[in-house]
Symmetry: C2
Subunit: 408 residues, 2 copies
């Protein structure tokens, strides 16, 4: 018996049949004695349909009206789910973000939640009802409809779980939990029973797109226990905890990788103060995000600079860098998009020395050349030739015993 | 310069191009110095799509959730229209029924408006904005989304016009006004410059489906000047006034007809008190609406009864009537669905005698047999064989000079 917030994304409510399956799952939980609040996204495809209509009206649709438009997506899902629950004899009430009310700031299309009024929800739960809330949306102090931006339904679920002091917040997706790495690359990848928030943040930002980073941060801030589960199968999923797990004591928890990056190098840059700013400033001004940055030690009064950007930004970044190179009198600009970033992540790094050298030994043994290295407190990332991706991931997975349950 | 409420139905906002055309019309009105509040329906087809989804969830969808679902239709239109207006450089704000706020009772799917808070609208209008409001919907005192039922967008427009003390409420449809009769039957049918509310009510209930009866009643009650115009062409349309027109002094204003009725006759009914109730009671109990009723003078201690119902109800009504006939010991039950009801409507009847006899002379001259007659203060209806419909309408149109402008 407990209070749970369940969140179902667009794929999980993408058809009439899937909404009916969600209703079955919610009904079963309620029958077992739990109180359930459900947060739903728009049916998959609906947001794209609405965005398409908006773009036909205006090249850059007015943000306030975009929110009015897109918020209808979740409103449709929540009413259909209540009907499906009703058909199962389960009494349910739906609420838009404005109705419940989820108060946000007024930054349309990427609003932030300020507070939630939980009176209606508690009253309904106490009356034995399931409460269904539209994800992704809220209302500002003046009553304008707002949306939380991409992936905002996760944030709604976490914020509701925090406001309601829910026992757990369940994020139902199309995967049955967080894995040590992508099972399509390493078939021995193992589902983790739990992972810390910090590890999840590093995994998410490194390309494991299960949860929105903002919702994970939010959950950490408000001590909400998040659990990632599959909408389509049974199972306990992966619990994301805000404490370092006392249960699992692995050195590392998982291997993330990112194939979306490209590398740019500018060589022969005069080694003078301000060079880094002159090189990276124009890139940032063009709203191109830079991930890894490496500056080699100066040699003969010149230095080399290497950094990575998203592959989609490579052409623009190269043009900017070439102009910078000319004005600085640098030697050359080279680019490489056949790269991949591979990262090992784990809070175990904090208390265990030698993890980096163990990682590098794996690469040495496999004859994989490391092009760039970057480290944080709980992660080590390297950039390598993309042709070595599978080899590197499998070798690391084996070397760190990720296919085995950790010692308890 | 004035304040106008414009209402556009589903066909008028059915595509991206039509919404853009509506935006042009609204922009032109604002440029001429008028303040404009626009009420929109869901894009044509959208309500049926949503209803279809609901029916897949539940045979009889929960009324509260049906309102949540259907209200998204107008919300989509209103945001798209604001974007289209924005593209024309015209600042606009959209509001759902709940936002504006249109307070209704809690009777889901057919709520009635209790009051409207016009503060936000006046503030926006005074700031030079166009205000776009979702038709058909409101919010009850507890914040639940409600809808006003079929045609409710007309009611929203009239209620807003009343609350805002608008100069006129324009109902844009796919016809360019109210005609003396259906132009498909009588090519000489003439658009009326004005018509009284009472005439409009009789015309609407007799089958001219331009406006919802409830919105016309509402307009009459609150002295709102309604004007029916075409979304797709220019023109002054038809003004619906609450006073007997001092301008037009025609005997009758129009000819309405209804092909949807069927006639049932029970003969040889013992002429005893309570016979009418015994015959019509069971029909009403089956929720079948009865239109015209005629009881002939008793003859030989028995009497004959004739009444009309909607053709869709004929089979059910006949079965009930046959059972009644057996229990009453009546002689026979006969039915006829090859009938049509033709009515002349006009407030001129009140002050002019001889209109009925003039009507009956037309039928006599054309050798059309009249099967039933029913009259009210401003209308005379007859039931005739349906094959005479066109002949009757054209002969009446000519006899009452409806193709000519009335004397001023």
């Amino acid at each position: 018996m407990g209070l749970f917030v369940y969140k179902f994304g667009g794929t999980s409510v993408g058809t009439v049949e899937r909404i009916q399956a969600v209703a079955q799952k919610v009904k079963a939980a309620q029958d077992s004695g739990d109180q359930i609040v459900v947060v739903v996204s728009a049916m998959s495809g609906e947001t794209n349909r609405l965005t398409g209509l908006a773009k036909e009206m205006q090249k850059t649709p007015i943000a306030r009206e975009m929110d009015v438009l897109l918020s209808t997506g979740e409103q449709v899902t929540m009413s259909l789910l209540c009907m499906a629950l009703g058909e199962l004899g389960c009494s349910a009430h739906s609420y838009t973000g404005g109705q419940v009310r989820i108060v946000t700031d007024s930054v349309h299309t990427k609003a932030r939640i300020k507070r939630i009024d939980d009176k209606k929800i508690h009253a309904d739960l106490n009356a034995g009802k399931v409460v269904v809330v539209a994800g992704f949306q809220g209302m500002d102090e003046d009553g304008n409809i707002t949306t939380l931006g991409r992936g905002g339904s996760d944030t709604t679920a976490v914020a509701l779980a925090a406001a309601l002091k829910a026992d757990e917040c369940h994020i139902y997706t199309d995967v049955d939990g967080v894995y040590t790495t992508d099972p399509r690359v390493e078939p021995n990848a193992r589902r983790l029973d739990s992972i810390t928030f910090e590890e999840m943040l590093e995994m998410a930002s490194l390309g494991s797109k299960i949860l929105q980073i903002r919702s994970v941060e939010f959950a950490g801030k408000y001590n909400v226990a998040l659990r990632v589960l599959s909408s389509f199968s049974e199972g306990r999923g992966t619990l994301i905890t805000y404490e370092e797990s006392a249960v699992e004591q692995a050195l590392i928890s998982g291997i993330a990788f990112n194939r979306d990056e490209a590398k740019l190098t500018i060589t022969g840059v005069p080694d003078i103060p301000g060079a880094a700013f002159k090189i990276l400033g124009p890139i940032a001004d063009a709203n191109i995000e830079i991930d890894m940055i490496i500056q080699n030690v100066a040699d003969d009064a010149t230095t080399d600079f290497t950094f990575t950007v998203h592959r989609n930004d490579l052409v623009a970044a190269k043009a900017i860098l070439t102009a910078t190179s000319d004005s600085l009198g640098a030697k050359s600009v080279t680019t490489d998009e056949k790269i991949v970033k591979v990262s090992i992540v784990g809070v175990g790094m904090r208390s265990h020395a030698g993890i980096a050298s163990k990682m590098f030994k794996v690469f040495a043994d496999e004859n994989i050349n490391i092009q760039m290295i970057s480290t944080s407190e709980i992660k080590i990332s390297v950039v390598i030739d993309e042709k070595y991706l599978e080899l590197a991931v499998r070798a690391l997975h084996a070397a760190f015993d990720l296919d085995k349950e950790p010692k308890k």
